[in-house]
């Protein structure tokens, strides 16, 4: 995939003209290889060299953007099979299918429900981002009114599920500025569909019956120069879908197989009628390589588990989830309630809030910013010691909320208690348990 500096250098003009802002072509090549400079800085590159370099430096799975502005979502761009090898880049957008055969009231309800399913978690806002609008009625005006309705009443990015070129063109006249994903080109209509996608500058999904057909179709279309593709292998069962996803990802990454170097789209709702089963299918495909997941029905109890799963799997292993610094009130505390201190490592925060909630003891949890590090790691890095903890306690505002001055610190940093009593005049420092699981018992005996 990525070329070395020397390989890039061979394709440059080698004039050392300096127009790119770097004194020599070799230095420029090194900058490109290191990702510090882009090809477009060189005004003298031959078009042949440019296309060879672009081809060689393209990511193994093309990132594809659907939608524009606030409505835009990005998929693809993945570089590893396993998240610990580096990280997964773009969480697969989740879409719900809405058909133009639904009546107006039902559609309106679905849009409202779609808009209401938003969740805040560890500083992330979680939601399903997309709607797949399906042409099923056979009446173009119904489809157009669904699209117009969706544009006016939702903030979604769209998939236009419509394979009739005439209807699709009308739909795109109304929506192309929002860059919907067109679904789908097949072996029978690909020429026409590619022309339409090109004319309206929208990404295009291609659908085949199996991987062989998919690879042929993708090859034909990419050979014509159209690159904003999304792949549907046409799997009808979860077993086939799982195999196809692994096969496509591996081919793109390990074999640099260009025809499969695109994000994929899956429809778990078409593999089962049971919404619970559909959800578990979707969870498999989120972890194992789907680029877009289209769900059949909007149900809050099914979307929430998928959103948190997706957030977890797509968290950068090198940058742990961090909770916002501040005072968290649990079980409705008052001025006499206990005050506990912890780091802003999200896992610690979630564990503690769970245990405090289950204790039913009204409490304040003070979360100090430790850049997402856990208690002991933060302590070792000098981000959780008497001097900076005391500054945080003074400025966080807890002193205005309570009348006592007792602070429960994590058992693992008991050795900071003397330092803290020195820095925090008037405060009594109490040593809490080492394990979150022992907090309920500790809190019940507090005070």
């Amino acid at each position: 995939m990525a070329l070395s500096g020397i390989e890039i250098f061979k394709l440059l003009p080698k004039t050392n003209c300096g127009d790119c802002g770097v004194p020599t072509c070799l230095a420029f090549a090194m900058s490109i290889a290191a990702g510090r400079a882009g090809l477009d800085k060189c005004p003298h590159l031959s078009s042949e060299a440019r296309s060879r370099l672009e081809e060689a430096s393209a990511p193994p799975i093309r990132p594809v953007t659907i939608g524009t502005g606030e409505r835009s979502v990005k998929t693809g761009g993945e570089t590893v099979m396993f998240r610990h090898e580096k990280r997964f880049e773009n969480p697969p957008p989740l879409a719900f299918m809405i058909s133009d055969t639904m009546n107006e009231t039902k559609i309106r309800q679905q849009f409202e429900l779609f808009g209401s399913l938003r969740y805040e978690r560890a500083g992330n806002s979680l939601k399903a981002e997309m709607l797949a609008l399906k042409y099923e009625s056979g009446q173009a005006d119904k489809y157009l009114s669904l699209i117009e309705n969706a544009i006016n009443n939702t903030d979604a990015a769209f998939i236009l599920v419509c394979s009739e070129p005439a209807v699709l063109e009308k739909a795109l006249e109304a929506s192309a500025s929002l860059r919907p994903l067109i679904y789908a080109a097949t072996r029978d209509n690909s020429g026409e569909m590619v022309d339409i996608a090109r004319k309206y500058n929208c990404p295009l999904a291609i659908k085949a019956q199996n991987l062989d057909e998919l690879s042929e179709l993708a090859e034909t279309i990419t050979a014509s120069g159209f690159k904003d593709l999304v792949l549907d292998s046409g799997a009808q069962t979860i077993k086939q879908a799982f195999f196809d996803q692994v096969a496509i990802r591996r081919s793109a990454l390990n074999k640099k197989y260009r025809s499969f170097g695109f994000p994929t789209i899956v429809f778990p709702g078409e593999m089962t009628k049971d919404p619970l089963k559909e959800t578990v299918y979707a969870s498999i495909l989120i972890a194992k390589y789907a680029g877009l997941v289209v769900l059949g029905k909007i149900l809050p109890e099914t979307i929430f588990p998928l959103l948190v799963e997706r957030m977890n799997i797509f968290t950068d292993p090198q940058r742990p989830l961090a909770t916002k610094e501040g005072i968290y009130e649990i079980n409705g505390p008052d001025e006499n309630s206990p005050v506990l201190l912890t780091s802003n490592f999200s896992l610690t925060y979630f564990l503690l809030t769970g245990e405090i909630e289950s204790s039913r003891v009204p409490s304040y949890l003070l979360v100090k910013d430790t850049e997402g590090l856990s208690i002991m790691t933060a302590w070792a890095a000098g981000k959780f010691s008497a001097d900076n903890i005391s500054q945080f306690i003074k400025k966080c505002g807890i002193e205005d909320k309570i009348t006592h001055r007792k602070l429960i610190i994590p058992g693992y940093v008991d050795f900071e208690s003397a330092g803290l009593e020195e820095e925090l005049e008037g405060w009594e420092i109490l040593i809490g348990p080492r394990e979150a699981a022992h907090l309920p018992a500790y809190l019940k005996n507090w005070g």
């Binding site: 062989d212 591996r250 619970l276 968290t315």
Partner: protein, 314 residues
């Protein structure tokens, strides 16, 4: 030219462990490829689900989790029997919650008696899970190992600080061990080395990587499990080639989102289905990462996951 999937260079195999005895004994592990990758390897045993049984009436469970067991919540033997006869459990996992020194603090003898009752009530393999209080577990698990010789119970969690006494008692009485370490591949390996030195056979060990549920840091154990499996199957690391067990039901059901009623949080939807899915999706994610035994609670969640295991492996 027909498309061919690029292969993975596997060179290792997961050890095969036999839990329980007689006709109801269950084999786990034995595969030489990633989970659900039978298209490029062999997997003689499908991943298994162990159904939870508690040794005392559980506290803080949402209604949805309690309802299927309402009539047996204070009867561990009856609970185990119900899991097998009504819900088709292939194995049960007895959670020794009552031995927690911060809770009821029941004695090792009490625990051993309950274990005997449960093993007499069902023929399927029984997994025994302590409270992860290392001193207490050492007493309790040792007593249990001694009380049921030859039953091939699976006993844990065994940790670096308490493995010696438990491992000796387990070996003498023919039981398996759950080697538990805190979400870290090196610590998992270290403990397996210690157990090997103490004379525990590789196929008497299951790895417990310490798991959490979706929304609560499942990504950590997910990646540790994937790394353990990659080391076992592609790097010939024989100290990590054991089946993996995931005690995840309690993690999923103790979360705020599994408990809060739909009336208080309409955006989270139906309480029961939500709880079932939090458990089922957590279980599925851990299966994908390499889980060989998943400890589960709700019959509907179990039914879903069991069906899908069959579909993916079938």
């Amino acid at each position: 030219m027909p498309f061919e999937i690029p292969g993975v260079k596997y060179n290792g195999k997961i050890s095969q462990a036999e839990l329980g005895t007689g006709r109801q004994a269950v084999q786990v592990g034995g595969q030489d490829c990633f989970t659900f990758h039978q298209f490029e390897g062999s997997a003689p045993n499908l991943p298994k689900i162990a159904m939870e049984v508690y040794d005392c009436p559980p506290e803080g469970w949402p209604e949805a989790a309690k309802a299927p067991f309402e009539d047996v919540l204070d009867d561990p033997a009856g609970w185990a029997r119900k899991c097998v006869s009504e819900y088709g459990a292939e194995m049960v996992c007895l959670q020794l919650a009552s031995t927690d020194p911060n809770g009821l603090d029941r004695s090792a003898e009490d625990a051993a008696r309950v274990v005997r009752e449960v093993t007499e009530a069902v023929d399927v393999p029984v997994i025994i899970w302590g409270t992860a209080n290392q001193e207490k577990d050492a007493q309790v698990l040792e007593a249990i190992a001694n009380t049921c010789p030859g039953k091939r119970l699976t006993i844990g969690p065994v940790e670096e600080k308490n493995y010696k006494t438990i491992a000796a008692a387990a070996k003498e009485n023919g039981h398996l061990l759950i080697a538990s370490s805190p979400i870290d591949i090196n610590l998992a390996k270290q403990l397996n080395i210690l157990l090997a030195n103490a004379g525990t056979e590789a196929n008497d060990i299951l790895i417990d990587p310490t798991v959490s549920s979706i929304g609560y840091g499942i990504e950590y154990c997910y990646s540790v499990m994937e790394r353990i499996r990659i080391a076992a199957l592609t790097q010939q690391d024989d100290k990590l080639q054991m089946p993996i067990i995931c005690n995840v039901a309690r993690e999923a059901w103790k979360t705020k989102e599994a408990k809060i009623p739909a009336s208080d949080a309409p955006e989270l939807g139906d309480t029961e289905k939500r709880g079932i899915l939090l458990e089922a999706v957590s279980a599925m994610v851990l299966l994908l990462a390499g889980g060989d035994i998943i400890v589960m609670r709700h019959p509907r969640a179990i039914g879903l996951v069991r069906e899908i295991i069959g579909e993916l492996a079938g």
